[in-house]
Amino acid sequence: MAAQWDPRRRSSTSTGEPVVAVPHGGSVSEQVALGGRPYGQPLTRVDFFRRMPAGGTAYLKPTDSED
């Protein structure tokens, strides 16, 4: 069943190469000021497109805004 995996196809994707230089986050002193580091997860599913776009944000005058 190794044929289920076709490395030629996957490596042919145009995004298969590094897309960004490697910058690093804030300085050491900034990290100390912010407390702990973001915990993160090994895998993060992108569910946002299904979940979030039920609305938008609108600021209406005078006061009764949506955000």
């Binding site: 069943m1 190794a2 995004t15 960004v20 804030g26 497109f49 938008g56």
Partner: protein, 402 residues
């Protein structure tokens, strides 16, 4: 008067989650890979296309499994935009109203504003448009001068600004839609700080969107709790609450910069700057009571911006359910590697699956060679990652252990 603040610098908070350049590159990589899922033979798309709010709308709807992606649709806006200040694109051409009519109709419907959808102010409107552009340029300049780090942090996430004809804006001060990420609408401004504040307010939502599609923010389970702010009759679902909290945190930081510059008296009559910190705090306190519904990076953002303890944030670990055996990536899974070591996997389906992998998880995927991978060859941490790949329907068991 002591203008110093011990509130954290939101730009540093953002950078700890994702440096600005990295975040933009990863967001563009997501849209490129998604386009490749839906569009056979998709070319490498230019940044102008990957950032285009109309293109992002069509990709987003396809990722949400609501509207199939049409690779022949025309979403080009290049001939109806003008660049201001070397960075900010503004819809200006005579054809912009036609090109953005559907978008305005959707955003108007979402905004709850009364009446018919607004129309754009463009070059056709002559002196009125020229006045507006002058104020936008001045507002952009004030933003960059008064709060340069915040401007560098937020502006790259705004792809297009549209100015509404005040005769049709029906009381709308500023708006953005999650359906059209990167797009900001503002009423015709009366002063530079109308523009600067809208770029912070709505720009914060654009930043939030990009964080939420590349970092660990909101999962698939919907929390039914709603929040009613003390200043409004609105009732917000959790995802709206966290987005509003983030926007008020950035507005509060901007307010401090404007105050420090001595220009707080120049803000417009609809300004939220005087109330921003108080509202951020009110929303944040409510969110702390609901934080178990946020994923780990969103909890860290919340706690860090609120100056709460952020050192002990942990999420529930999923139970390991994979059986011993040999595993392979599913056919048609596509991947994009980031220079940071992160990786994005995408799989077609209904809905399509997109999953970000950190460096350790990416190493497991790298181990999927031409032969299936034996679970017994992995240590306990990597077995957890394999479990996540199987749960996300990106990998599957192909046979018994050898």
């Amino acid at each position: 008067m002591n203008l110093r603040s011990d509130w954290p610098d939101a730009t540093a908070v953002h950078a700890a989650l994702a440096p600005a350049d990295e975040l933009l590159s990863e967001r563009r990589a997501l849209y490129q890979l998604a386009a490749e899922l839906f569009w056979r033979g998709a070319p490498k798309l230019p940044e102008s296309r990957l950032d285009n709010p109309l293109f992002r709308f069509r990709v987003g709807e396809a990722l949400a499994d609501r509207i199939p992606f049409d690779s022949t649709a025309d979403d080009d806006l290049d001939d109806v935009v003008t660049e201001v200040g070397g960075q900010l694109k503004i819809a200006s051409g005579a054809g912009a109203n036609d090109r953005l009519a559907d978008t305005l109709r959707v955003v108007h419907s979402q905004s709850g504003a009364p009446g018919t959808p607004p129309r754009l102010l463009t070059q056709v409107d002559g002196e009125s448009f020229r006045e507006a552009i002058d104020i936008v340029e001045a507002g952009l300049a004030r933003f960059r001068e008064v709060s340069p780090a915040l401007a560098r942090d937020l502006l790259p996430h705004t792809a297009l600004l549209v100015i509404l004809d005040p005769a049709t804006s029906n009381g709308l001060v500023s708006a953005s839609s999650r359906l059209f990420p990167g797009l900001i609408l503002i009423d015709k401004p009366t002063c530079p700080y109308d523009v600067a504040e809208a770029l912070v307010h709505e720009g914060a939502h654009q930043k939030f969107f990009d964080l939420a599609i590349t970092r660990d923010f909101l999962g698939s389970e919907v929390d039914d709790r709603v929040f009613s702010p003390s200043w409004s009759t609105a009732r917000w679902p959790l995802e709206q609450v966290v987005a509003a909290f983030h926007a008020y945190a950035l507005l509060a930081q901007f307010a401090e910069s404007v105050t420090a510059s001595g220009e707080i008296g120049q803000v417009g009559p609809s300004s939220l700057l005087p109330f921003a910190r108080e509202r951020e705090t009110e929303i944040g306190r409510w969110l702390l009571g609901a934080e178990e519904s946020l994923e780990s990076d969103a909890r860290w953002l919340l706690r860090t911006l609120l100056r709460a303890d952020n050192a002990a944030i942990r999420t529930e670990e999923s139970k390991n359910s994979v059986l011993d055996g040999r595993y392979a990536l599913k056919p048609f899974v596509r991947m994009a590697r980031m220079a940071t070591g992160r990786m994005l996997l995408a799989s077609p389906g209904h809905p399509p699956q997109l999953v970000w992998l950190n460096r350790n998880a990416a190493e497991v995927v790298e181990q999927f060679g031409e032969e299936p991978l034996s679970m017994s060859a992995l240590g306990p941490e990597k077995v957890k990652i394999l479990n996540g790949l199987v749960a996300s329907e990106l990998a599957y068991r192909v046979g018994e252990p050898r």
